[in-house]
């Protein structure tokens, strides 16, 4: 068991936790967090993959990918949070029962 493998396995474990969270939770905030956990897992696997040369030198390419990936994930999370806020604000505006029922359905 090398350290690299531990990193990779931890990444996969995070991924599994995240996917489970995504499919089992209905609250959008939890779902957004779950997707971020999936992302963390994937990035961990990528980072572990940088340690692939027999000489022990670190390959910079996966690091570059992780950095870009984090940027993408942050932007997507921001958009998702904006939507979640919008849904929340909408639900607050509408006080009738139909709206609340609606919200329960949309999570």
């Amino acid at each position: 068991m090398t350290l690299t493998l531990w990193y990779a396995l931890t990444g996969v474990a995070l991924l599994v936790v995240g996917v489970y969270g995504l499919v089992s939770r209905v609250h959008v905030l939890r779902q957004i967090m779950a997707v971020n956990i999936v992302g963390a897992g994937v990035f961990l696997v990528l980072v572990a993959g940088a340690h692939r040369r027999p000489s022990g030198a670190i390959d910079p390419v996966p690091h570059a990918m992780v950095l870009t990936g984090i940027v993408v994930a942050v932007s997507a999370t921001a958009v998702a949070l904006a939507f979640a806020r919008r849904l929340r604000a909408d639900a607050d505006e509408r006080t009738d029962g139909a709206a609340r029922e609606d919200e329960a359905r949309a999570g």
Partner: protein, 570 residues
Amino acid sequence: MISDALTALPWIAAVSWPMLVAMGLASSRARGVALALAPWAALPALVLAVAAPAPADLPWLLLGARFELDDIGRVFLMFTATLWLSAGVYARQYLDGAPAAHRFFAFFLVAMAGNVGLIAAGDAVLFYTCFALMSFASYGVIVHTGDREALHAGRVYITLVIVGELLIFAGLLSWAGFTGGTRLIGWTATAAQIPGPLVTGLLLVGFGIKAGAVPLHVWLPLAHPVAPTPASAVLSGAMIKAGLLGWIRFLPLGEAASPDLAFWCMAGGLGAAFGGAVAGVLQDNPKVTLAYSSISQMGLMTVAIGAGLAAPEAWPLLLPAVVLYATHHALAKGALFLGAGIAQHPGRSAGARRAMTAGLVLPALAIAGAPFTSGALAKLALKDALPPVGGALALLLSIAAIGSTLLMVRFVSLALASGVGSRSGARAGMWIPWALLTTAGAVLALGPRGIAGLPEMAPSLEPGVIWSLSWPVAAGLVLYWTARRLWPRARSEPRVPPGDVLWVATRPFATFRVPVAGARTSPALPGAVMEPLARAWSELTSLEKGLTRWYTTGLALLLLLVALTMVVGR
């Protein structure tokens, strides 16, 4: 390059000119000009049929299209273009001042383009394209009036068309697989393999829907009475022959015998010939009677196709006979339909009435096969070609002629009765195309000499021949007269609902509609069978609601990942 374009020009003009005019009808600014041009849109096709230019390859069109006319195609194009031209001129007058005339002409012209194109097509893809164009455009022609009967007829028609298109699509693909290409004309000469019975069967049924073959004929008696008269004329005269042409083009006729299919083909044909006559006599709408007459006549041509499938060696003789029969039937049936429209408005002048009666009786006699008519020639040609298959068929043809006579008497009396009480007279624009078709039929009766694709024949003066042609007509007349004496009330009540077997087949399901949430559904289903079906159908929606949950998606994702990993890593 330029010479290529020049060769292609007449072909493209014949097909695309009607479509261009149809496009003009769609724009409100060009409508006036387009309406004036619309009746004459079949002229380029007629020129094409007469000139028959060299084949043209259009590699830039579809998957490499080809236009080509052989002798058979030429004859088909001649009578088809003549019919469309007559019907177009007639329709201009028939729909004069009608608010939706431009809509009718738009569909009419697109169907015309398809019909012309499929005859001129030299490859299977182009043929199919034009065939579909014609089939779908004629839906608009059939439902033109928009009333309940028209919509019902349209629904039956479009359902059969879609099924037919699928069968033909499947059949043509397999056909192309067998023959190794899509070239239509002369494929049999180069074919390494003959298409098998499944392919032939698909094409037989697919084109049979268009050709009105029993039991796929149900749309004909529904569509003809509701469609405007000129549309009925081209439906029964020209478009129905597209199914026949499909058979001639794609079945392995003259190449290989397929006894099973031949049997079903002949059985269906004879059933149509006799059943059509019986059902048609029991109608009280002259156009329904004509529709059944078309079914019955197409039945005879189906018998000939069956004979060709049974005995390939007989095909070289059968083919010209079938083409002659198709030509004769197209001209005569077109004239009868146009005449039926005029008979509703006979006018007050006695001369006009007499001319009208004569104009109805002449093509009716031709359909019945009386001596010295085009029908007589066609029947003789068919009889001459049939013997290698079986002499009994020739006798059956004579008996079928009795049925045709009955139908024609019934039609003429109904048509004449339809004009009783009408004071208005039909105008020249309707008389002239009718006279043109009747004359063309009369000219054909003199014998088609020098037209390649048709048998060299002349009217026979032999007493034996005349007798063989006359007795079925005489027998039919006597039979009709006797029947009217025995059952005088038969005039008013049709005993067979138009669409015969369809009516029988759909009666238990008449109230079944696909239950769609939110739509008006009819609850009156034969409960025990239909209710669980309906419930299962709506159950599918809630199943989709289940599928749209994250949980199910996550599960599916996992399963697919595992499955794909295992399959790839195998």
